[in-house]
Subunit: 553 residues, 2 copies
C-alpha cells in the first residue's frame, strides 16, 4: 500500500496539529468556515450540480449488489420532492459486503487509515458547495448554515475523531521487550499489542444535521479499523451520500474495498434500521435522533453512542446590557427555527425581574423585550430568512402551530415570513409562551422546533433548581446563564455541571450557546439523558476497539 | 490541604515513572515481590498480628454508624473459622455516609487525590506481611502467592489505576482562552473544563483474590473523584480490610472523611450486594466473580466493570523440549489448585501427537507425560504444598472430587497431599481427564478448580478452531500456545486475537500464562464474555467521570 502510506506523509503535519489541538483546546479549525475561502466558481458549479442531480439516480456510489433505486426526500424550501434516488441494498447484502471488507481494513495500520481518511476529507472539502445545497434541500437549513455545518464544521469534527482515534491507537506501543530480573537470571519476553477493532459499525443519521452528526461516529469507527454502514434518515440522504462517495473514491483509488463505507438508504415505509442494528454482525451503533429510539439503541447488547433529545435552559438573572442579551437569545432561539439540538427552549426568569446596570427591569418588560427582539430579527428581510431557514418535518411544523394551545400565555405567535428566493419555503417564526414555574407539565419536556417558554420563577435559586432537575431528568446539551454575580455564577456552574451539563455564561455579540466548536467544546457530555456519547472524548474512540497483547518466549 | 499537596510532591516522581511505564509497557514494578525486600522482622510480627486478630473484633476501621460486628471467614488451611468480626453497616448508612463525603472528594484536585492514594499504598506496603497471612487464611493461597498477589502485585495494579487515572484527568486542560477571528473582530471566550465524577462507586470482591481483583476498581474510582464502597466476599474480608483501614487512616490524617472509602461486610445468609448495586445513588459497579451474577451486574443501568468466568485453553502443537513444556503446563494448572482466573483448563492436542526436536510424541505419551509432570510436582514435598495451597470453597472441592464422573477418561485422579505446616489443610491435586473433541458438553464450560481436560482433536487447525469458538462463546482471559511453526503461530494469534484473547507463546521456565504483569499486560481484554473491563486501559478510568466544560464571555 505504497500510495496509501504516501497519503499519511502528505497529511502527517495536519494530523499532528490536530492532535496537539485536542490537548490545548484553543481555537483550531483547518477547514475555513467562510465560503469565500473556497473556489470562486464553487457556488455556481454547485447550483448546476444540484439541478442536474435532482430527479435523477445518484450514480456516484458503489452499486454492487444493489437491486433498485429509492428516494423520498422533500425540499423544505421548495415543498416538493427532490427526486434523487439512491442504490438500495438489503441488510443481508450490506452485512455480507461489510464482513468481506472487515479483515483487510482491521489489519490496515493506523497511519494508512489516517492518511486515507484525511485525504477523503480533502476531497469532501472540494464538494462543500454541493454539500451545502444538498443540506439546504433536505434539512431546511439556510444557505450559510448548510455550508458551514455540513461543510467545514463537519470536517472539523471528522478530523477531530481521526486525531483522537490515532492518538489512542498510538498510546500503547506495538511491541516491547519485557525483562524481569529473578536474581540468578532474567525472565525475558517479547510482547506485542494490537488494537483489535470490534467489528461492523452502524451510524444512524438524523434529518436535521445529516453530515455534522454522522461524521464523528463514522470517522471514529473507520480510524479504529471498523468498516461502517451509514444509515441516513430517509428524508436527508443527499449530503451524506456525497461524503460516502468521496470516501469510497479514495478507498478504491488506493486499492481498498468500497465496502469499507456503505450507504444504506431506506424509506419511512420500509425501514431497515432495526434489522441492521439488531444484526449479530453489527457490533457498534452510533445514533442521533429521538429519545425513544435512542433508548432502544442503548439497550441493545452492543457498544452504543447516542445523541437523543434534551431540553436546554437559559437562566436569566442579571446583566449589564439587557438589549444585547435579549438580542443574543432571540438569535439563538431563531437560528434554524430552533431545530438545533443546542437551541434554548426554557428561559427561567425570577418574578422580580432582571437586574441591569441601569436598574431592575420587570419580568413583564423582559418578556416584552425578548418578544420585540425576536420580531425585530425575523421581520428584518436581510436577517430573517437567512436565520430561520425552513421547517424540516411536518411534525415540527404542526407542533409549532399548535403550541398556542399548550396552556400558557401566548406572548408571540408563530407566523411565516417571505423568503424572496424560495416563495414556497415552509417557515415558522418562534412562538413565545409565558408559563408559571408550576406548569412543569408543559415545559419539562422537549418541544422540538421554534418554541420558546419563558418561565416565571420565585428567584434565581429557584431558576437554578428547576433547570438542574430538568437536565437531570430529561437531559440537556447546553445551558445559557446571564449573571453579573460571581456567587451566582459559581452556584449555576456547580448545579449544572453536577448533572453533566456545560454552561455558557453571559454570551452576547457573536457568541451563541448553540455553537460547539470542534477541538475545544465537547458536544454532549455523555453524562445525562441527552445521550451517552461525547464528541470527541477518548471513550468516543477507545470503545470501538480492544487492546489485545501477545507474549512470546 | 497543605499536607495533602505535600504528599503529591513526595510521590510525584513515582507517579511520573508509573505514567511513563504505561506507555512503554516494559517491566516496571515499584513494589518488590520478594518478602526479603521488606522488614526482616515483618514475617514474625505478622504472625503475632494474625494470632491477635483472630477471634476478635476488627477495630481498625471507621465504626461510625455501625450497629454490630459480623464475620464468618474460614481458613482453608485450618478448616476452622478465623473468628474475625467486622463493623456492619446497613446499606442506608453506607449510602448516606458516601453521599456526605462525595462533594468534597469530587472537588479535590487530581494532584491531592494522587498524593493521598500513593501515600496509602506506602502504608499498605508496610502491612504486606499482615495482608499475606490474612489472604492465606481466607483464600487458601500458599504463603508466597498470598504475599505477592495481595501485596506487591496488587499495589502495582492499584498504582497502575492511579497513574492511568491521573494521566486521563490531565489530558484536557483546566482552562484555555479561545479566540476566533471573525474578520473585523475577534470572538473571545474563556473556557474551563472539569472531570466531574459520576458518583458513588461500588466494588464487589471475590473469594480467591480479595485484594488483587479489588484494588484496580477501588483506586480507579478514587483517583477520578468517586467515593467507594468495598463489598468484599463474605468469606474473604480480612486482607482487603487492611487496605481499607490504611486508606481511611491516610484520609483522616489529612483532613478527609474516612467515608471516602467504606468497607461493607455482609454474610452469605444476609447479603447486601444487590441492595447496594441497585441503589439509585450508586453510579458504578466493579465486580469480580461468577458469570451469572456478573451478567446481572452488567444489565444494571449503570457504568459497570466486570470480570466473570472464562475458559482458558492451551494449544499444544509442536515444541523443542517437551519435558520443559509439560512441566510448565503442570505448574500453571497446579498453581493455587487451578483457582486462578488465568489457570489453563483445556489442553487441545492433535490425535497425531506433538512434534518435538526429537521426533513426534504420540498423543497418549504426551498425556502420560503431563500426568507425570503434575504428579512429580505435587508429590514433591518441597514444591507441592507451596504450589497448591488449599481449596477455598466447598463448591470447588466438591466439583474437583466429582470430576471423575464427568464422562471422560480419567488420566490422573485428584488426591490430597501432606502439608507439614497445616495438617488440616483442604488440598486437592489436579484431576486430569482425557476427552474427545466431540465431548464439548463437558469441556465447553468453566470447571473452576484443579480440573484439567486434555482434548484430542483432528489437527492443530481443529484445536485452534475449538479454542476460538469456546473463547468467543464463553470468554477467556488467556491462552497458551506451543508451536515451532511461524505459520501456525500467526494462525493462532489471528484466531484468538480476533475473539479478543491474548496468547502466550512457548512459555517455559519461569514464564507462566497465569501471570499478568501490571503496567505491561492488560488483565482481561474486555472484549469477550469473560468480562467487560480491562486492567487498566484508558476506559477503565475514563468511564468513571464526565468532561464538562464551561464558557465565559
Amino acid at each position: 500500500m505504497n500510495t496509501a502510506m504516501n497519503l499519511f506523509e502528505k497529511h502527517q503535519s495536519l494530523l499532528n496539529d490536530a492532535i496537539e489541538a485536542l490537548s490545548k483546546r484553543a481555537y483550531y479549525s483547518p477547514y475555513p468556515e467562510s465560503p469565500k475561502a473556497y473556489a470562486e466558481d464553487g457556488d455556481a458549479k454547485a447550483k448546476a450540480w444540484i439541478s442536474a442531480t435532482m430527479n435523477n439516480n445518484y450514480e456516484g456510489l458503489d452499486q454492487t449488489g444493489s437491486s433498485e433505486f429509492i428516494g423520498e426526500e422533500i425540499s423544505p424550501f421548495l415543498q416538493m420532492g427532490i427526486g434523487v434516488r439512491y442504490p438500495y441494498f438489503s441488510e443481508q447484502i450490506l452485512i455480507e459486503k461489510a464482513e468481506a471488507a472487515q479483515k483487510t481494513w482491521g489489519n490496515t495500520n493506523p497511519e494508512t487509515r489516517a492518511g486515507l481518511l484525511i485525504e477523503a476529507l480533502d476531497q469532501v472539502k472540494a464538494r462543500f458547495f454541493d454539500i451545502a445545497y444538498a443540506t439546504m434541500h433536505t434539512t431546511g437549513q439556510a444557505y450559510m448554515m448548510s455550508f458551514q455545518a455540513s461543510g467545514p464544521h463537519a470536517n472539523d469534527r471528522a478530523l477531530e475523531a481521526v486525531a483522537m482515534g490515532y492518538k489512542e491507537l498510538k498510546s500503547v506501543p506495538e511491541s516491547a521487550e519485557w525483562v524481569k530480573n529473578l536474581g540468578k537470571f532474567d525472565l525475558k519476553m517479547n510482547k506485542t499489542w494490537k488494537a483489535v477493532p470490534k467489528g461492523i459499525s452502524l451510524v444512524i443519521g438524523c434529518s436535521t444535521f445529516p453530515v455534522w452528526n454522522t461524521v464523528p461516529g463514522l470517522f471514529a469507527s473507520l480510524i479504529t479499523g471498523n468498516v461502517t454502514i451509514v444509515k441516513p434518515h430517509p428524508k436527508a440522504i443527499l449530503a451524506i451520500a456525497i461524503v460516502v462517495e468521496e470516501l469510497q473514491k479514495v478507498l478504491a483509488a488506493n486499492g481498498f474495498s468500497k465496502a469499507v463505507v456503505q450507504l444504506a438508504p431506506d424509506t419511512q415505509n420500509a425501514p431497515i434500521t432495526k434489522k441492521l442494528a439488531e444484526h449479530k454482525a453489527v457490533k457498534m451503533v452510533d445514533f442521533t435522533g429521538g429519545s425513544e429510539f435512542g433508548n432502544y439503541i442503548e439497550q441493545l447488547p452492543k457498544t452504543t453512542f447516542t445523541e437523543k433529545a434534551g431540553v436546554n435552559s437559559i437562566i436569566l438573572d442579571s446583566v449589564n446590557d439587557l438589549k444585547s442579551v435579549l438580542g443574543n437569545i432571540a438569535f439563538s432561539a431563531s437560528l434554524y427555527s430552533g431545530q438545533m439540538c443546542t437551541a434554548p427552549q426554557n428561559i427561567f426568569i425570577s418574578k422580580d425581574g432582571v437586574k441591569t446596570s441601569e436598574g431592575t427591569v420587570t419580568f413583564d418588560d423582559v418578556v416584552a423585550g425578548l418578544s420585540a427582539a425576536i420580531t425585530g430579527l425575523v421581520d428584518n428581510p436581510k436577517a430573517g430568512p437567512g436565520t430561520l431557514g425552513a421547517i424540516q418535518a411536518d411534525l415540527t411544523y404542526n407542533r409549532t402551530n399548535e403550541a398556542l394551545n399548550l396552556g400558557g400565555k401566548v406572548i408571540l405567535a408563530s407566523k411565516s415570513i417571505v423568503n424572496e428566493e424560495f416563495k414556497d419555503a415552509r417557515i415558522a417564526t418562534p412562538v413565545v409562551i409565558e408559563l408559571d414555574k408550576s406548569q412543569g407539565n408543559i415545559y419539562n419536556k422537549e418541544c422540538f422546533g421554534p418554541i420558546v417558554f419563558v418561565i416565571k420563577t420565585d428567584s434565581v435559586e429557584n431558576s437554578i433548581s428547576l433547570a438542574k432537575t430538568l437536565a437531570e431528568d430529561k437531559g440537556a446539551l447546553t445551558c445559557g446563564a446571564y449573571t453579573t454575580s460571581e456567587e451566582t455564577k459559581l452556584a449555576i456552574a456547580e448545579a449544572m455541571n453536577t448533572v453533566f451539563v456545560p454552561v455558557s455564561f453571559n454570551f452576547t455579540g457573536a457568541g451563541f450557546i448553540n455553537s460547539h466548536a470542534a477541538f475545544s467544546d465537547f458536544h454532549l457530555s455523555g453524562g445525562n439523558p441527552a445521550g451517552n456519547a461525547s464528541f470527541a472524548n477518548s471513550e468516543f474512540v477507545s470503545k470501538r476497539f480492544v487492546w489485545v497483547g501477545n507474549r512470546y518466549m
